[in-house]
């Protein structure tokens, strides 16, 4: 399958050729990036995931309503950050692999399996890819789980994880406001607040806040538009 054939080496940026032409804006040649803020939180019985919705090519916003919460399987989602093309391609590959695996098993796949599949692709092609991914979902064995697969291809399970360019601005907020054993509603509020703060400070994050909660009963998705974002900052 075409998506499984990843290339060997990227080499230098050949788009410099077109960028030399002064009349063509330089964002034409720049790769599309989800300079992003993504977040995932475990709670007892499921996970809550959230992301902003901005995709940029250089200084131009290519898509202001991007959906960075990508379904991989019925109860497993991934949050994508980094190069849009790379993460879309990896997510397609892993969805295919996981779907096939699930049919062979004749039962829902484990979140840990999905996370390992992501890690396998991200680690093997680490020189060529720019992808930071949070894998989150629910399965029967361990309930709600969040796995972090940052650039480089590490895999680690965390109760709460953040990623993307905007995450640097909310490490303090997350460290001080996350408490273990939060309810689903508290997780949703925390995620929305954290994303709002990051979007306010990071130029590459913005748009709307997309949230999803995954549990045994299914996936609930919601969108918080710009004018309905929580008022978190005090000035």
């Amino acid at each position: 399958m075409a998506a499984t054939m990843m290339m060997q080496s990227r080499g230098q940026n050949f788009n410099e050729i077109s960028a030399q032409n002064a009349l063509v804006p330089d964002w034409i040649g720049t790769e599309v990036s989800t300079g992003t803020t993504i977040m995932a939180v475990e709670y007892d019985g499921g996970v809550v995931i959230g992301a902003d919705s901005r995709t940029t090519t250089g200084a131009y916003i290519a898509n202001r309503v991007t959906d960075k919460l990508t379904p991989i399987h019925d109860r497993i989602y991934c949050c994508r950050s980094g190069s849009a093309a790379d993460t879309q391609a990896i997510a397609d590959v892993v969805s295919y692999q996981l779907g096939f695996h699930s049919i062979e098993l004749d039962e829902r796949p484990l979140v840990e399996t999905a996370a390992h599949l992501f890690k396998a692709s991200c680690y093997r092609y680490r020189e060529e890819l720019t992808a930071g991914i949070l894998v989150a979902g629910w399965d029967r064995r361990k309930g709600g789980q969040v796995y972090c697969v940052p650039i480089g291809g590490m895999l680690v399970r965390q109760p709460v994880a953040i990623g993307g360019s905007g995450s640097t601005y909310i490490y303090g907020f997350m460290d001080s406001n996350y408490k273990p054993s939060m309810t689903k509603e508290q997780c949703l509020e925390l995620t929305a607040a954290a994303l709002t703060l990051a979007m306010e400070r990071d130029g590459s994050s913005g748009g709307v806040v997309r949230l999803a909660s995954i549990s045994e009963d299914g996936v609930e998705r919601r969108v918080i538009l710009g004018n309905a974002l929580p008022k978190v900052s005090t000035h």
Binding site: Q8, R10, G11, E31, A62, A85, D92
Partner: protein
């Protein structure tokens, strides 16, 4: 210990060779051959009954207009069309490639091809070439799931949206669409908004120009209309700088016959098939 390069994977030898050639040419004072680009404005939107795609018609060779009236809206299947921006050859051949695939699929399944399928084939090809195939496309069409519109970027990312703009004039066209787009517009309103969007690109972007082409795709089929609007029409010259006969007075007239003598004649017959 030397690391051995893994066999397999995609071969980018030619890209490396081209980069070396370009730098060595520049050192000797020669300019690299620039590919013909469609510095472009392309746009699309979904309206009540389907999809409308629009494009300008200028192709540039560096800073010269190579083609004043080219076709940027390519047919992929009877109900799926694609607009291409970037390197003209890349955009055209990508569209032709998936058009062939669409036709094979139709023949095999007896159904019209899904827009999502054509978009996926396109993005997987572009990803495989890691951005070396330098074209952005807008794929729009109607299939069994209804009207759909996708934008595909050169590195292989794609987005499904209700309205999209791409190319160097994208920012200008996006401004118009952001202001005036509404979901489920009627055909006339939607056409006007889209034409104005492409027109904004033509007027505000130096490398977009020519006229506006639109393609209206509905459940029943597609209607490609070339040149629905001309941004700048060449004016008619109202003045005439030719002098009338008699302006210059003739004082004397004399005629000299030049005699021609045939000096040499040779006949050569060509082979007749």
């Amino acid at each position: 210990m030397m690391q051995q390069q893994e066999a397999g994977g995609f071969n980018f030898e030619n890209s490396r060779r081209n980069a070396v050639l370009e730098s060595s040419l520049a050192e000797n004072g020669f300019k690299y051959l620039n590919p013909r680009k469609t510095g472009t404005t392309i746009a699309g939107l979904i309206y009540k009954d389907g999809v409308i795609l629009g494009a300008d018609t200028r192709t540039t060779d560096d800073m010269m207009v190579a083609d004043k009236n080219c076709e940027k809206i390519h047919c992929i299947s009877p109900t799926i069309y694609g607009c291409g921006a970037g390197v003209a050859a890349d955009a055209l051949l990508c569209s032709q490639m998936i058009a062939a695939s669409a036709q094979l699929h139709s023949l095999n399944t007896g159904r019209r091809p899904p827009v999502a399928m054509m978009t996926r084939q396109l993005k997987q090809t572009l990803f495989r070439y890691q951005g070396q195939v330098s074209c952005s496309l807008i794929v729009g069409g109607v299939d069994d799931s209804g009207p759909q519109l996708y934008s595909v970027y050169p590195h292989g990312s794609s987005y499904r949206l209700p309205y999209v703009t791409m190319g160097s004039g994208a920012a200008a066209a996006a401004a118009v669409l952001e202001d005036r787009f509404k979901p489920y517009m009627e055909l006339q309103d939607a056409l006007q908004v889209l034409q104005d969007a492409v027109l904004a690109g033509i007027l505000c972007d130096l490398v977009s120009g020519g006229s506006v082409d639109v393609c209206v795709i509905t459940e029943t089929g597609a209607d490609l209309r070339r040149g629905v609007e001309r941004a700048a029409v060449r004016g008619n010259r109202t003045g005439d700088y030719r002098y009338k006969r008699g302006t210059t007075v003739v004082l004397t007239k004399s005629t000299t016959n030049l005699r021609h003598d045939l000096v040499h004649e040779s006949v050569q017959t060509t082979d007749q098939d």
